[in-house]
């Protein structure tokens, strides 16, 4: 177990370092940050001086080394736009993104899994086919368009749900803020969560269905039926549990995708999370925020993968217990 974990950890660190390098190189090319930091009337000499102060004229390896050593100490520099440490900004934005991602993932799982199970067990039924076809809409329309249509319907026309923001948030602990504890906070979560989770829900449903179809054809399911076990036991204890092994991997990957796709949803719904900040940073060429965001998503992704690997360890005895 420890060997397994350390090996995984080592791989994760290599991935992170490569991402850091990519993040760094990428943002060296995105645009000129100086133009964003000053007004239009600032003179060329002043711009050049600023460039020098920011270290943008140093050799690239020097800049990268500085970047990595600082990032390792959770110092991502100061945002060009906000004039605040990027780590502080992210600390404020992370709760919003994580709460949205969590709710979306929950929505995707709670709706997707039962639908997938049903469609897997009743392959030929009309309801399964309906599930399959209707859920396709979730992956056939771009997220931003779904969001806009939802706003148009539920906020503008019906005026049931808010069109932007997190509603009222309550501080929990020293730096976390939550929208889960207020009515307006919960209402504000509905539309963005659906927008963000729809795609994942469709994927999870289809994945569960496909895995279920395969698993129920295996020998051990046939044998379980031949032992006369009731359908409930066969379908849920045996089939579903085995289905979940590959589903967990994909769900883990999808969680990473949810956080990445949150950028679009957050933009449409003006959700004050990391993704919104990232896109604004891209528009304003705010390099520190962009590189920190990329490292952060990569970190979350790597962390989720690591957790999934460990989870595997507990779900699948073949990994946990040695052979004779």
């Amino acid at each position: 177990m420890i060997g397994f974990a350390t090996r995984r950890l080592l791989q994760a660190m290599i991935v992170m370092l490569v991402v850091a390098l990519l993040a760094f190189t990428m943002f060296r090319f995105v645009g000129d940050p100086v133009n964003q930091m000053v007004g239009i009337e600032t003179s060329i000499e002043e711009r050049e001086a600023l460039r020098e102060r920011l270290g943008l004229n140093d050799p690239i390896p020097v800049q990268f080394f500085r970047f990595v050593t600082q990032a390792a100490q959770f110092n991502f520099g100061t945002s060009y736009q906000f004039r605040q440490p990027v780590s502080d900004l992210f600390a404020k934005r992370i709760p919003a993104t994580l709460e949205l991602s969590f709710t979306s993932a929950l929505f995707a799982l709670v709706v997707g899994i039962p639908m997938g199970i049903y469609a897997g067990l009743n392959r030929e039924s009309a309801v399964s086919k309906l599930f399959l076809s209707v859920s396709l809409i979730g992956i056939s329309l771009p997220t931003f368009f779904i969001g806009i249509l939802l706003i148009f319907l539920f906020s503008v026309t019906l005026q049931w749900l808010p069109s932007f923001g997190r509603g009222e948030v309550v501080p929990v602990g020293s730096w976390w803020t939550t929208g889960f504890l207020t009515v307006s906070g919960l209402k504000a979560l509905i539309l963005p969560s659906i927008t963000l989770g729809l795609y994942q829900m469709t994927l999870i449903m289809r994945l569960i269905r496909a895995e279920m179809l395969e698993v129920i054809r295996t020998d051990y399911i046939k044998f379980a039926r031949a032992r006369g076990l009731p359908d409930r036991l066969v379908n849920f204890r045996h089939a579903l549990k085995n289905t979940l092994v590959p589903v967990i991997t994909i769900t883990g990957l999808q969680l990473g995708a949810i956080i990445a796709f949150a950028t679009i949803t957050e933009t449409v719904f003006q959700w004050p999370g990391m993704g919104l900040m990232f896109l604004q940073a891209v528009q304003n060429v705010d390099i520190p925020i962009m590189s920190a965001y990329l490292l952060l998503t990569a970190f979350l992704f790597v962390a989720i993968n690591f957790i999934v690997d460990i989870l595997y360890f507990f779900i699948d005895p073949r990994l946990r217990v040695g052979r004779p």
């Binding site: 645009g31 000129d32 940050p33 100086v34 133009n35 964003q36 930091m37 000053v38 007004g39 239009i40 009337e41 600032t42 003179s43 060329i44 711009r47 600023l50 102060r53 920011l54 110092n75 520099g77 100061t78 945002s79 060009y80 736009q81 906000f82 004039r83 605040q84 440490p85 502080d88 900004l89 404020k92 934005r93 806009i148 706003i151 148009f152 906020s155 503008v156 005026q159 808010p162 069109s163 932007f164 923001g165 933009t267 449409v268 719904f269 003006q270 004050p272 919104l276 900040m277 896109l279 604004q280 891209v282 528009q283 304003n284 060429v285």
Partner: protein, 527 residues
């Protein structure tokens, strides 16, 4: 020194009660974010506009943009090069400190220090002399009739507060630790900042100790940045917000039709224009090799006359624009009405092109921002389509402003052949336009840094110098008009229009829409 006054007040619905015991909250949204609270760190309209509710300058501008006394009760030019300002007595900062001449001197030093983005507010050669606690002299090296024109956005800071909190140095982009002044604000204005989460939400609270009589009835203001046009409009339509700006021109009708909301529109001071590379001997992006067609005035005029400005006004801007013949808003220049655009004449344009030797037209690349000005990209597309009809083929390169400016400005080496730009003179005065847009420049941008096309007319340069020191308003305006006429006759620029302002407001809100696109809470009443 007089401006045509303009009042674009929006007293559309009779204000019912002046004061009510009920706590009123104003919720509004803007497309951009309020980043740092340091009043000298970013010279940008919205930042200065927002901070103007908390901080105040020696002067302020009224609803009609006329300069009014604010923290200075009055001022006079005691000698040609010495201006004396009499400070208002009894003014207190939000933390309770008194506002004194010390604070003015401190603010002047700070605004001119390294890292300040507003260092042009007070020239480096200007000396400040404290006469007494409430009198300050500004000593100039030469006459400057427009010394205080931009002082409405040169906000006074509290010397003691700033010093105590180690914020004397201006919050600069290269800082690694946050500056206290960029996170907290301590001004003298009508609203205190209660909380500020950059890019998320800023909450203001009424300042009960304000020196002026409050005409507003707002207790709390909540500001949220909403970048997406559609979401911003939706938030207004759904009643979640009291006021949003800007609103896309196409949504004006919808907002007006919607029960409970109204769109306020009016001309803005920004002039949108097209510029052409007239410096290089061969255009960077064109099929014409070995020569530069834009060096020929006939070609420039042909391009000018190929553009149907009325169509742009009607279809792209939905009438929310004023076609312009000069490079400044006529509101800011007394002789503005003397100029007339070249008429729209595609046939004439073709003839001009043929005379210039381009009977078959030519192709040229055009740079255009797509998130900077009202419908900027749509304007460029319309222009491209119109020029295609006279044989000039446009390859349009529309980009987000970050990339656009990086390419076309001095830092990008003026990498453009044909571009669209907008300009508002910060001082609301023509000298700013002449010196920034119309003087000669070298390849590094020395001279007029925003004369991206790099045309050079010695006469305009000399006129600019005269304008700077001319005290007599009429004579001064004459000199300016002469410079504008040279530009017009040679078609150095193709001015398009002054774009319009469009704000979306709930019916129960009364406010003032100023032509400089600044939103001041002190004008707001909520019923």
């Amino acid at each position: 020194m007089k401006h045509r006054s303009l009042l674009l007040a929006a007293a559309l619905f009779a204000a019912g009660a002046g004061t009510s015991a009920q706590a009123e909250t104003l919720k509004y949204a803007f497309q951009g974010t309020l980043n740092a609270l340091d009043p000298y760190s970013l010279n940008e309209t919205f930042t200065l506009s927002s901070l103007g509710n908390t901080y105040e300058g020696l002067t302020r501008r009224g609803a009609d943009l006329a300069i009014e006394p604010a923290l200075a009760e009055s001022w006079e030019i005691v000698e040609p090069n010495r201006w004396r300002f009499h400070l208002r007595k009894g003014v207190k900062f939000h933390n309770g400190n008194d506002f004194t001449a010390e604070d003015v001197a401190f603010s002047v030093d700070r605004v001119r220090s390294e890292g300040s983005d507003l260092s042009t507010r007070v020239g480096a050669d200007v000396k400040v002399e404290i006469v007494d606690d409430h009198t300050v002299d500004f000593v100039l090296t030469g006459p400057n009739p427009i010394l205080n024109y931009e002082w409405d956005t040169f906000y006074m800071m509290d010397k003691d507060w700033t010093t105590e909190n180690n914020a004397v140095k201006v919050t600069s982009a290269s800082d690694t630790t946050p500056n206290y002044a960029s996170l907290q604000a301590n001004g003298t204005g009508p609203f205190k900042i209660l909380s500020h989460e950059a890019g998320v939400k800023t909450v203001y609270e009424k300042n009960d100790g304000w020196w002026d009589e409050a005409k507003h009835n707002i207790d709390t203001v909540e500001f949220t940045p909403i970048g997406s046009d559609a979401t911003r409009v939706a938030a207004l339509l759904s009643g979640e917000l009291d006021m949003v700006y800007p609103i896309p021109v196409q949504d004006i009708k919808r907002i007006n039709d919607n029960a409970g909301t109204v769109a306020l529109t009016g001309p803005e001071l920004r002039t949108i224009f097209l510029g052409m590379d007239q410096m290089r001997d061969e255009l960077l992006y064109s099929d014409v090799k070995g020569k530069n067609p834009f060096k020929d005035a006939k070609v420039r005029q042909a391009v000018y006359q190929a553009i149907d400005i009325e169509a742009i006004k009607k279809k792209v801007m939905r009438d929310l624009a004023t076609p312009s013949a000069i490079m400044i808003s006529p509101f800011l220049f007394s002789k503005g009405s003397e100029f007339e655009r070249y008429p729209y004449d595609p046939e004439g344009a073709k003839k001009l092109l043929a005379n210039a030797g381009y009977a078959d037209g030519f192709s040229v690349g055009m740079d255009c921002p797509n998130d900077r000005y009202v419908n900027d990209e749509a304007i460029c597309q319309a222009v491209a389509s119109m020029l295609a009809k006279v044989g000039v083929k446009i390859d349009l390169n529309a980009q987000p402003k970050a990339k656009y400016f990086a390419k076309v400005l001095a830092s990008g080496g003026f990498d453009t052949s044909f571009y669209l730009l907008g300009w508002t003179p910060g001082s609301l005065d023509s000298w700013n336009v002449l010196s920034n847009l119309m003087n000669c420049r070298d390849e590094a941008g020395k001279g007029s840094p925003f004369n991206l096309g790099g045309f050079c007319d010695a006469k305009i340069d000399s006129l600019t110098k005269e304008v700077l020191v001319e005290i007599d308003p009429d004579k001064r305006d004459g000199l300016i008009a002469e410079a504008y006429k040279i530009s017009h006759d040679n078609a150095y620029y193709i001015p398009l229009h002054q774009q319009g302002l469009a704000w979306g407001v709930a019916d129960n809100i009364d406010l003032v829409q100023r032509a400089d696109n600044q939103f001041k809470f002190r004008f707001v009443t909520k019923n």
